[in-house]
């Protein structure tokens, strides 16, 4: 699941191959009213955008809202250079998600946001029961982390960013990022201790 910065730049291997219209071409067509072109663009990037927003907010409705917003902004975006579009999409998704987390924290709705027991692994019917349980346990344990720790952990683990970049995004020092990840990992270790992984490993 971990991604690296190179994958981010190239759009996670989803860069259009031979014969496929490029992202900008799809967006141009969409701007002229070609809805099918826009759906293809959304199919190409929606998955990654949605999951970035979901992992950072741990809220499916918010993630859907953010994914819609990112796609709309892409449609309204000034035509830029092709290479940066994929990276731009995920940066916008990440910023919107982090802003949503901050305002949620300000509203004190919940320092820890736990979705009702919606199975995250429902998308993958082939996953074993133990695999789904571990997936839910991980999601739930991450949801229980304090917001700053969760943001740091998700950015390093699921977005594949380095400590300097994360420090820049979260507005703290590199040492603070390491400390947040370290504390998050300690809490996750306790939360996931004793979870049966044997079945999951054989699946």
């Amino acid at each position: 699941v971990a991604r690296n910065a190179d994958a981010l730049q190239t759009g996670l291997g989803e860069a259009p191959g031979e014969g496929l219209p490029a992202d900008e071409a799809l967006l141009r067509a969409a701007r002229q009213g070609d809805q099918q072109a826009f759906r293809r663009f959304a199919d190409r990037h929606g998955h990654r955008i949605y999951n970035t927003a979901w992992r950072l907010t741990n809220d499916r409705h918010l993630a859907e809202d953010i994914a819609q917003e990112v796609l709309v902004r892409a449609l309204r975006r000034d035509v830029g250079d092709e290479g940066s579009l994929a990276a731009w999409l995920y940066v916008v998704a990440r910023n919107l998600a982090l802003n949503a987390c901050r305002s949620r924290r300000r509203r004190r709705v919940a320092g820890t946001v736990r979705e009702a027991h919606v199975s995250a692994a429902g998308s993958d019917p082939s996953a074993s029961l133990a695999g789904r349980e571990l997936s839910d346990a991980v999601r739930s344990a991450i949801a229980d982390l304090p917001e700053p720790q969760r943001a740091a952990l998700v950015l390093v683990k699921y977005e594949g960013l380095g400590p300097d970049r994360i420090a820049e995004i979260l507005g703290c020092t590199r040492d603070a990022v390491k400390m947040r990840v370290s504390r998050a990992m300690a809490q996750l270790r306790r939360a996931l201790a004793g979870h049966d992984r044997n079945e999951e490993e054989t699946s």
Partner: protein, 170 residues
């Protein structure tokens, strides 16, 4: 402070690949000699790989269409708003032009009388600056008289007034 104490907070960062190269080398040297820290790193690695279990979820169906609707609804707002924005812009531009126009006039030279600068109102200044017109006043009055006599004669022809009597009066 023991070596283990020094590294305790860095073990997770090591597993997460967040250490500087120098720190990493130093920690690995310590790990080679310290079974307790090696066990802690192993536990951290287990947790780190457990996190891979959080699988991606498919985006909700109809995401693109929902985005298109959102885009269209904003477009409508803009379509309604543009004429109003344009009208407001024109009004503002006119107001600004009206406001600034007097400033565009050249500032009249200060009036000096008896070696002193004299404060005069705008209206007074207009009269003073057009004094030459006063000299033309008799001629203008003459013109006016001719025009009125002319009108009387016209009325006389129509039988409406007795022009000669009125002409005498004028």
């Amino acid at each position: 402070m023991s070596a283990c104490d020094r590294w305790r907070d860095s073990l997770d960062a090591y597993v997460a690949d967040m250490l500087d190269p120098n720190e990493r080398v130093e920690l690995e040297r310590h790990l080679a000699d310290c079974p307790a820290c090696r066990r802690a790193v192993e536990a951290s690695r287990q947790t780190w790989s457990d996190l891979d279990a959080w699988q991606d979820a498919p985006p909700p169906a109809g995401l693109a269409d929902a985005a298109l609707n959102r885009h269209a609804s904003r477009g409508r707002i803009f379509r309604i708003a543009w004429p109003a924005v344009a009208a407001a812009g024109v009004a503002l531009a006119f107001a600004a032009w009206s406001w600034y126009r007097p400033a565009d006039r050249p500032t009249p030279a200060p009036l000096v009388h008896g070696g002193r600068q004299v404060e005069v109102s705008e209206a007074d200044r207009a009269v003073i600056e057009h004094l030459d017109l006063l000299e033309e006043m008799p001629m203008l009055a003459e013109f006016d008289l001719v025009r009125r006599v002319d009108m009387l004669r016209t009325l006389d022809r129509l039988g409406l007034v007795e022009a000669s009597a009125e002409e005498k009066r004028l």
